[in-house]
Amino acid sequence: MDRRSALGLLTATAAAAYAPDELLSLGRSFHQRILNGTRRVLSAQQDATLLVLTDLILPATDTPGAKAAGVNAFIDLLLAEWVEPEEKDRFLKGLADVDTRARAAFGKDFLQGTPEQQTALLVALDDEAARWKASPEATRGPEPFYRNLKWVTLFGYFTSEVGALQEEHYAIIPGRYVPCAPADTLSPSE
């Protein structure tokens, strides 16, 4: 097989030609289901709260944001199948704490706040997380919920189809290695 025909075959049908069919179709139907469907761990209230939180962290700009990427559904999957029970508890407690803070700040659950109130609360959480990160490891308390949320939002977004393709311009088959390309090249660097 020469390079041209090999690559032509690949780019024409992408991975579908070679990835095991059952894996692909499983993956597709599964992710479709979690995009549309109900949650296995998160209540409707928790899910809606996460939808707003993740979309504030990574909003739609000239590319789709966390909401379109289904980050809340991915978090539900991790809570249902991936994390240990104590990790799940910690995450859900952290999420509940967002509402506690919201009620203290503006007298309502986070979801019922105005966008300004929600953003102000997130600014406070972000500052707190930055202070935690900057403080000495030996004396600081447990990692704030918000850092967990921020990481899983980033990961869920950039490994989603819309995040990877539209925001990161991830190429499954770059086809070349350019060792010193301009830093704003729209192509994967990693």
Binding site: A6, L56, L154, F158, I172, Y177, P179, A183, P188, E190
Partner: protein, 561 residues
């Protein structure tokens, strides 16, 4: 009905089994390759399945992995995509002493571990082949560089190696395709080394078994980046991409997957191995196959296990073990001494494409004619430079549209040196049969006794200090030296359970990988190694295998075997 007698049986279809199959069939021998695991073809490759089509997007099914592959998951390549190329730990147990952990990382399938190997290829030199003699350690290698050099050429021409010629005596040049390129960050460090340690510490692009040009009907790399998941363009070398197809093309190959070799059949009257006892992987029925010559290419530990499980009244401690060295002198490269830092490289540049290869710094300690260190032998570094991506967002204050936009630009340039050091041979590092435990096919398993000594740890300590020193010379900041506490086995460069040597009293194999005790038995995987050097060993196994095949074919023609 008496079973068909093949000219040759090769046990294993991985790195060396594929080579034995190719060389023996091309010499005209009817060859049976017995592979313990399932069949794998390029249709099983998954390198182009993107994260969003994986259930956990690459975070892996960690509960399943911890249940089924608690040991295999220690290998970086045993991830959500490639875990199918690693064994189930419950079917494939082994034991150790509680205070001497050993990681036995395995791929049982057609292609073996050549599917997920690291693809780094470095020739050895006489600095390595003479090392034991020079230091008075263990026994001398029965060969020198001149004996193996033409076989390195032979292997390299077929598999295709990309790399840069350096003219260094401790790392001989080979038959190279054009090298991959260093990125801007790596160029900065290369230049700093050239300035501070001219001619002594050299940074080059990794020499790897990945094609940079179309070669022997296989396509050049397309930089998707995940070779350990397979390669539909056959751009990196593994046995199912290259050697097994070549063997099949002769019409002389019979490949039998799901054939778990239990032991060898010894014919005392003729002093020959008559054949192989096999447990069918599916039915678990016992089978026998016969041949004029047998090549063990099952891996360092599995080949030793087969010979130990083949004990007879004449060889009570394992077949071909009159020396008592079978199973002993187990070694694995020690790895994980190095340093990371942030480097000053052009902020307006970044690499594009996923180059499945890094840098290499050849050994610079204890070279001939150079200063002597407080430890023996040396180490080399792999590593490389890259820029931070979206992952840095976790620690980048802020959120929202501006923050998202800021993540579009690459972050800081980072650089890492990661050392691989030589492991000294030690008779007390050994394997034996654990009579209390069988694998899923009823075959007694290995008990592994292995730990690193002071010299290995001294190498890694020095590797971390020297790496920090080089980063400092390159103007790096936030330099973090490290020495990982890796157990042996983790480098997956295990060697030495059936070493070569000149004296049948102190070695299992002669200078042609032929058992001293039984002339139609050859062992050509990592078991044959007498020392480890610090370079990745696969290319040396392949060259030794091709050389041994040539010798065996000659001996068969001369009717010696």
């Amino acid at each position: 009905m008496s079973p068909k007698t093949y000219d040759a049986i090769v046990v294993g279809s991985g790195m060396t089994g594929g080579w034995a199959a190719k060389e023996l069939t091309e010499a005209g021998l009817e060859t049976l390759v017995l592979e313990a695991g399932r069949n794998v073809t390029p249709a099983d490759y998954v390198e182009h399945v993107p994260p969003w089509q994986m259930r956990f997007r690459g975070l892996d099914n960690r509960k399943k992995r911890m249940a089924d592959q608690p040991i295999q998951r220690e290998c970086y390549a045993c991830d959500e995509w490639s875990s199918k190329f690693f064994v189930n730990d419950h079917d494939n147990p082994y034991t150790t002493e509680s205070d001497k952990p050993f990681l036995f990382l395995r791929g049982r399938q057609v292609g073996g571990r050549s599917i997920m190997w690291g693809r780094q290829v470095y020739r050895w030199s006489d600095l390595d082949f003479e090392a034991n003699l020079r230091d008075g350690i263990a026994i001398d290698w029965p060969i020198r560089y001149a004996d193996i050099a033409p076989w390195y050429d032979h292997v390299e021409r077929f598999i295709g190696i990309s790399g840069e010629k350096l003219g260094l005596p401790q790392l001989p040049d080979g038959q190279f395709l054009k090298p991959m390129e260093l990125n801007c960050g790596e160029q900065v460090v290369r230049d700093a080394l050239a300035k501070h340690w001219p001619g002594e510490r050299v940074l080059t692009i990794g020499r790897c078994a990945i094609l940079t040009e179309d070669h022997n009907g296989r396509a050049a790399c397309h930089y998707c980046g995940y070779c350990e998941r397979g390669c539909v363009t056959l751009s990196y070398f593994n046995s199912i991409n290259a050697t097994l197809p070549a063997a099949r093309a002769t019409g002389k190959l019979t490949l039998r997957p799901l054939s778990v070799v239990h032991s060898l059949i010894y014919d005392k009257k003729r002093n020959r191995v008559a054949g192989v006892r096999v447990i069918d992987g599916d039915t678990k029925h016992a089978l026998e196959f016969r041949a004029r010559v047998v090549f063990l290419c099952a891996s360092t530990l599995e080949s030793a296990r087969i010979l130990l499980n083949s004990a007879t009244p004449d060889f009570p401690n394992g077949l071909a073990n009159s020396s008592g060295e079978l199973g002993h002198n187990l070694m694995d490269h020690i790895m994980g001494g190095g340093a990371n830092g942030k480097i000053a490289a052009p902020a307006d540049k970044k690499p594009v494409g996923r180059r499945p290869n890094g840098i290499y710094v050849p050994r610079f300690r204890n070279l001939q004619g150079g200063p002597k260190s407080t430890f023996l032998r040396g180490y080399g570094y792999q590593g490389g430079a890259g820029r931070e991506g979206w992952g840095r967002g976790s620690d980048l204050p802020g959120f929202g549209a501006d923050w998202k936009k800021a993540l579009r630009q690459p972050g800081d340039w980072g650089f890492g040196f990661y050392g691989f050091g030589e492991c000294l041979p030690n008779h007390n590092n050994y394997v034996e049969i654990d009579k209390t435990k069988n694998d899923a096919w009823g075959i007694p398993v290995l008990k592994i006794h292995c730990s690193y000594g002071d010299n290995e740890w001294a190498l890694m300590k020095d590797a971390s200090i020297a790496a920090a020193e080089m980063l400092a010379a390159a103007g790096a900041r936030e330099i973090s030296p490290f020495v990982e506490q890796n157990p042996p086995g983790k480098a997956i460069h295990e060697m030495g359970t059936a070493r070569m040597g000149r004296d049948p009293k102190t070695s299992v194999l002669n200078g042609h990988n032929q058992a001293h005790d039984i002339p139609n038995l050859f062992v050509t995987d990592g078991a044959c190694m007498v020392s480890t050097a610090c370079q990745n060993p696969s290319i040396t196994y392949m060259a030794l295998t091709a050389r041994a095949c040539d010798y065996a074919v000659g001996a068969m023609k001369r009717r010696e075997i």
